[in-house]
Amino acid sequence: MNDCMNAEIRDQLPELVHDRLDAARRAEILSHVEACAECRDEIELLRAARAMFEAQTPRVDVCYVVNALPLAKPRPVGVQRGRAVWTDWRIAAAITLLVAGGSSVAVLRRDPGTAMALRQTVQTPPVRRADGRSDSSGSSAQARPAPAAPSEPTPRALVATDAQGSGIGASRLGDLTEQQLEALLGEIDQLQATPVTDPEPVSLHVRENTSGAPEGA
């Protein structure tokens, strides 16, 4: 059995057998086959081989195959993963802030002394004394009214300041003479008259421009 010399035609003989050529190409090849004994022999061989493949193959039980197939599960559409991630982060951040804030409040409520000290520290502005020194705690306490809640303990900062003697302690007032009391009141009057928001003295150092160049050049 010889091969046809027209390799292009011979290459498409399987397509001819399976009827997979368009009409024009099919007509072209058929006209060649009519005059070509080698191509006719090869077509007979292809048909015999195809019949052999079909004859030797057992019939497949379609139901047996289909019964084992997975069920079709339509996939949900429209889930935007990017937005979900951002939402997750926002929720996590909110939970973190709530936990941190709640813990702080719990700690402060458990220790009232610390809470009071912190409150005093935050609320007390630095007070300038008559001698020009600034005092942020001790002496200013005398000028403020007593705390509204009598049950609250005395802040440790105030006690410590009094003990250092920077001001006049309440336990020593009864030992003072009339003159000393008058002097003390005068000092207090001076303290109240002194504005607490005096601007800091500013010293300007002006350098002389000896080069004659314009400023900013």
Partner: protein, 190 residues
């Protein structure tokens, strides 16, 4: 356009379109589409299995092929035809089976009588003398030549489709086919 493929492909586009529509229906939840797909391709898969030397459990192999295909059907992009994709899956399963079979045979003696019995039983199925001789000729081909020859002759696949299914190039598929055809002709001429 390749000269050899000139005018070829008629009917393939419509086949691929039908498969694509059935796949879309199955993805949408239509179970009958799965049955239609199996009916369209089961016989071809069985032919390829038998021609590749699979003697027993052809139903099981075809079933495994479809199960694996449907399990990953959501990822099927349609770069190749559905049938070509099925052949690719079945070929991998066949190779896995052969490796397992080889390991088993390494542990036990080869039963020569069983092979002869299978050969005779198959011959009785083929009543036609020409078919018997063609089958004997195909049996002598190398595994790759047999795969390419089967897909080209029994299924009418193009060289491009064969290359995708077998995992080779289009040119190599053409060479394998023509070498196989020459060997078959030489055997029949003896």
């Amino acid at each position: 356009m390749n000269q050899a493929a000139r005018g070829a492909g008629a009917g393939r586009e419509s086949d691929d379109q039908v498969d694509a529509e059935l796949i879309a229906r199955w993805k949408a939840g239509d179970e009958r589409a799965a049955t239609a797909l199996v009916e369209r391709h089961a016989a071809a898969l069985a032919r390829f299995a038998v021609a590749s030397g699979e003697r027993s459990d052809v139903d099981e192999l075809v079933q495994d092929t479809f199960v694996r295909a449907f399990n990953s059907l959501h990822g099927f992009r349609g770069d190749s035809s559905f049938r070509t994709w099925l052949f690719t899956i079945e070929r991998r399963l066949l190779l896995d089976r052969r490796r397992a079979e080889k390991r088993r045979r390494d542990r036990t003696e080869i039963q020569e009588d069983d092979a002869a019995t299978e050969y005779d039983a198959l011959d009785s199925v083929l009543a036609d003398e020409t078919q018997r001789r063609v089958r004997a000729a195909v049996e002598r081909l190398s595994p790759t030549q047999r795969e390419v020859f089967t897909l080209r002759v029994a299924e009418g696949l193009s060289y491009k489709e064969i290359a995708e299914a077998v995992g080779t190039t289009e040119g190599a598929a053409r060479v394998h086919y023509h070498n196989a055809m020459r060997s078959v002709k030489e055997f029949l001429d003896e």
